[in-house]
């Protein structure tokens, strides 16, 4: 233990005397974190959707007595996706090549069906395979829902008008023809002019009941159309940049690079400088040497990660941003930082022992860090195999630990599970690194 502490003290001293390396170690992961944030925001960018208008949608459409601004509706959809008007052939070509992720077709007869209010008009949606198509489908479903909501008002008004016609009578257009409707009121007046009798009384009773029932139709129709209404409230909480998710990504990315690189380079440097041969002469065992590098990575992760979390907390305080508790979970996050740093450090020590010299070790650590990081960012529902592979590395577990610690109301289940994973991975990688150090030539 004393040897580990002495080597750790030496490594910290060496690090302090390398300001350029220290600066790079801090700046590099932050730059990578910013790039990942950019890529993540690109993932939120609008997918390209081809709009094939085979029916020649008019700028304005009248259904019943409701007027619809078709251009405004299309513009509203275009806020969520990049809508490009194409003919069918070109749209199919772009869909096939993947340039467009979806193709929305307005078929011939769409407007006529809409105006007839008898047949439901159809829109045709075709998508490519992949995660974006799910988003596009959801957005088109939302569009159809919104259109249906507006149309149903027109349909209900038209139906109410038909009901009024049945009650009061008059002239109306139906399936393109003018029809004269007698109406229950006028029917009752005609019945009153006829001589009384039991059969006529039954007819009068029917007309009275039918009129009373149809009088209640307005509210019943409107309630049937909207059993549940969604009322939208103004947006609250943190922006994405200051979200717990972004905070977790930034902290995990930073410590992943720093811990991996530091441990790998520090271990390989022992051999580069020839000190390994001297240490091996009974001064420091392979296990102690690996433990010193793991401790160095854990310390660096703790210091850098806590600094990042504190910077986020300050930004939230100074910006008077609502939502979340930036300081309450810092002790839990700090414990996670040290543990994740140790697990990543153990993996770094293994890379350092395998690479054998500091330059190669640094390169190998960077090359290894990138796929490990990106593997850990792949959502399990999109690529289960990638997520399973990511479980073998500390990054994904650290990310889940920090996301839960910073975000969940009750994080203890996730934190306990990921703590177990990180501890297990730290032990396994450290044990393999110990064997690799033992086999390392002086």
């Amino acid at each position: 233990m004393r040897a580990v502490a002495l080597l750790l003290r030496k490594d910290v001293l060496v690090l302090r005397r390398s300001p350029l390396l220290l600066g790079l170690l801090v700046a590099y992961p932050l730059v990578v974190a910013a790039l990942v944030a950019l890529v993540a925001s690109y993932a939120n960018a609008r997918p390209r959707v081809a709009l094939v208008d085979e029916d020649g949608l008019p700028a304005e459409l009248v259904v019943g007595e409701e007027r619809f601004d078709v251009e405004a509706t299309i513009d509203r959809v275009a806020r969520e996706v990049t809508l490009v008007r194409l003919d069918r052939a070109e749209a199919e070509q772009q869909l096939g090549s993947g340039r467009a992720v979806a193709m929305l077709v307005v078929p011939r007869g769409f407007v006529a069906d809409l105006r007839s209010m008898v047949r439901s008009p159809e829109l045709e949606l075709r998508t490519t395979r992949g995660a974006l198509s799910v988003r596009v489908t959801q957005q088109v479903q939302a569009l159809v829902y919104e259109l249906n909501r507006q149309l149903q008002d027109a349909y209900i008004d038209a139906n109410i008008e038909y009901t009024r016609l049945l009650v009061e009578g008059g002239t109306a257009a139906f399936l393109g023809r003018e029809v004269e409707v007698l109406g229950l009121d006028r029917a009752r007046a005609l019945l009153d002019e006829l001589p009384p009798g039991p059969r006529l009384d039954r007819l009068r009773e029917f007309v009275r009941t039918a009129r009373a029932a149809l009088g209640e139709t307005d509210e019943a129709l409107r309630a049937t159309a909207n059993p549940i209404e969604l009322r939208e409230q103004p947006a609250v909480g943190r922006s994405w940049v200051l979200s717990a998710q972004a905070q977790a990504y930034a902290a995990t990315l930073t410590i992943a690079f720093v811990a991996l690189l530091l441990a790998a380079a520090a271990l390989a440097a022992e051999r580069d400088e020839g000190a390994l041969a001297r240490l091996r002469r009974g001064l420091v065992g392979p296990g102690e040497l690996v433990a010193a590098k793991v401790a160095l990575a854990a310390l660096a992760a703790l210091v850098l990660g806590t600094g990042l979390v504190a910077a986020f907390g300050l930004a939230i305080e100074l910006g008077d941003v609502e939502g979340g508790q930036p300081w309450a979970r810092v002790p839990l996050v700090a414990a996670g930082l040290a543990l994740a740093g140790a697990a990543l450090g153990a993996l770094g020590a293994l890379l350092g022992a395998l690479a054998r010299d500091a330059r190669t070790a640094s390169l190998v650590a960077v090359l290894a860090a990138l796929p490990i990081v990106f593997l850990g960012l792949v959502p399990r529902e999109i690529a289960p195999a990638a997520a399973a592979a990511a479980d073998a590395f500390p990054f994904a577990h650290a990310l889940r630990f920090f996301t839960s610690a910073l975000f969940d109301t009750d994080p203890w289940g996730t934190v306990a599970r990921e703590t177990g994973w990180l501890a297990l991975l730290a032990l396994v990688y450290a044990a393999v690194a110990r064997v690799a150090v033992r086999r390392l030539p002086a």
Binding site: R2, L6, S18, E273, A277, R281
Partner: protein, 196 residues
Amino acid sequence: MSALVAARGIAKRYGARDVLRPCDFDLGAGAVVALLGPNGAGKSTLLSILAGAVPPTAGHVEREATVGWAPQRPALYGRLTPRENLELFARLGGAEATEVHALVRDLALERAEPASALSVGMRQRLNLALAFLGRPQVLLLDEPTAALDPEQRERLWTRLDDLRRGGGAVCFATQNLDEVERAQRVLRIEDGRLVP
């Protein structure tokens, strides 16, 4: 006279190449042994195995005394000052702090700059100082006078002579025939073979 360091059947192989072929070696109290041989003959490998820095592929080494070792290429931390290097290895090896002060003074190693910024000669002095830490009874030195000025060379030989007279032992590798005269026994190594 019992051997302070005794090696039996030691050999070293890197891949398909025999760097050191099976050999025995004894270093008794009061002995000063010179290892002579061309570059790549196996001198450094033999000394490293005797010092415990490199494990042999075959055979074993018994050490009945404390052993100090100075490799041909200084084994030290370039970002630490000479004093910091000596303090670190002294603490790791359980040597006293007063020893560090004495070595820094005797070998004129009091410098503020890190070891990597020192001259080759200064680095070699630090390399030797690290071998002297813990006052070992046996010194295994690989071309110890390389890069030392004449005054420092004389000081080194005086120190080694004192050790020999005190019942210790020295084995050094050299290519300088003048230095062979300092030894009581000369061993030649050729192509990994120890030639008495």
